[in-house]
């Protein structure tokens, strides 16, 4: 492997990290409130809103059931409209966010549902408003589980980002497809795979460690 290839791989690594982290961040900005709303608006929740709950549930289910590769291609016009192009890592952020946000909403929903209802009831008995219950009880109490969820979400998005290489999405996946697949450069393929595995491991370990440290339940 020559030096230009090395530069390309380093650049690809940064692109992958950029896509993954920015997409995760934006997807959380959408997914976290949606996940919280799914819990609170439930008929057993602290502010039951049946219609809202049903609508959110349906939207999340539909978007969750579209395979990422198809979503990636299907939203190309929308991506062009937002970013101006459908090629490159910034453009890939759009489908990544669309795919990840509902997934994150479900992760958040299940984390928050783990919080013992007794604790929520106790805070209501002290006169907490629904917003206070969310910000002071639900999210802080679910923190360890939310962090583990974030690690899972990040690694899933990383996997999706590699898929975006098919449509010229940039990053390590793009390199693997262009060189490893189209040009039979097995060496490049192996290096990108190893790098992807490494990044996933690092995110996973990091997430678990923080979650453990933050968990005061045991």
């Amino acid at each position: 492997m020559d030096s230009s290839m090395t530069t390309l791989i380093i650049q690809g690594t940064f692109e992958t990290l950029y896509m993954t982290l920015v997409s995760t961040l934006i997807a959380y900005i959408i997914g976290l409130p949606v996940g919280v709303l799914l819990v609170t608006s439930d008929s057993e929740g602290i502010v039951p809103m049946r219609l809202l709950n049903k609508v959110l549930d349906i939207i999340v289910n539909i978007t969750r059931s579209i395979p990422f590769l198809i979503l990636l291609i299907a939203v190309i016009p929308f991506t062009r409209f937002i970013v101006g192009t459908s090629i490159g890592s910034t453009a890939t952020i759009v489908p990544l966010v669309l795919a990840a946000a509902p997934f994150i909403a479900r992760l958040v929903e299940s984390s928050i549902k783990e919080v013992d209802y007794g604790i929520i009831e106790a805070s209501l008995s002290m006169g907490a408003s629904p917003l206070q219950v969310v910000t002071k009880v639900m999210i802080p109490e679910a923190k360890p589980s939310l962090i583990i969820g974030a690690a899972i979400a990040t690694t899933t998005i990383l996997g999706y980002s590699a898929m975006a290489g098919i449509v010229g999405g940039g990053g390590l996946g793009d390199i693997a497809i262009r060189f490893g697949y189209y040009r039979y450069e097995t060496g490049v393929m192996v290096v990108t795979v190893v790098l992807l595995v490494l990044i996933v491991q690092i995110f996973q370990e990091f997430g678990m460690k923080i979650a453990q440290k933050q968990d005061h339940r045991k």
């Binding site: 209501l124 002290m126 009880v137």
Partner: protein, 349 residues
Amino acid sequence: MIRRVRNIKSNKTSQKPIIEIKNLGKTFHPKSGEVKALEGINLTVNQGDIFGIIGMSGAGKSTLVRCINLLEKPTDGSVFIDGQDISKLTEKKLRTVRYSVGMIFQQFNLLMQRTAERNILFPLEIAGVDKETAKKRTAELLELVGLPDKAKAYPSQLSGGQKQRIAIARALANNPKILLCDEATSALDPSTTKSILSLLKEINQKMGITIVIITHEMSVVEQICNHVAIIDESKIAEYGPVEEIFRNPKTEIAKKMIFSEGDQGSVVMGKNCYRLVFDENSSSDSVMAKMVLETKCLIKIVHADMKDIDGVSFGQMVIQLPEDELTASRAIYYLRSRQIGVEEVEIDG
């Protein structure tokens, strides 16, 4: 002894109602039909009372206590706190009322991700108390419940009794007028239960906080309550001062609850068994021995239990009288003349 009793009683003459429950009903609508959890409940709790609500599991007592702070919205009737009908308040106003009604639970319900200290800070944060004052108040409360050294401990590092003490401190943070206890000692061992109950009693006497206690254990009522309501099948079966209910339970359920306490089921009762009830007027010295000597009636003591309820020495005993009716009635007459309640125990089966 008796003088002390009178003193306590005269303290409690401020018969000002603080909680009034009027014709309260609660019906749940699960998928199959409807369940009446509460029906036509009328109760008045006076300021400074330690009011016990006792019942078997499923009788509706937990729902009833949640109707007092409207964690459960009643389907009928109304709840007055300090003369204010809280079932008519807006959510926002209701939250302010809740600052003045503390609550503790069987499972403690502490925030697991917060230290003991920050758990006590929690209701103060909610009420928007400034940081300085809140910090001071937290330190005071930790002192009050006897755990100043556990400020930085997480709930998972505390024992059950310590958790409940922190929960009590948390419930008292906003200086409530009322403290609701939902089976607060049911998850604790007997000695811890005792210490938590005496802490509650201390809080009641020192700060004048009215306490409502939900329990299924008669021993809890005996130890600290001055009033009791017995709830059975969604209704109040009987209610009044503890001594009165104990001395003269009118309903079947009350008799059952009072009687089955202690050696549950281990009392083997034969024919001719009588329950004797002693109170401050009757339990003068060696009345039983004198009775045996004077009436020549040989009795067998089946079960005896003497307790101190709210300063009144109180007890009950089950004795078996001889078959001979004449001797037996002599004994009964003797006991009644010494102001001891005598009542035949019916044996089922």
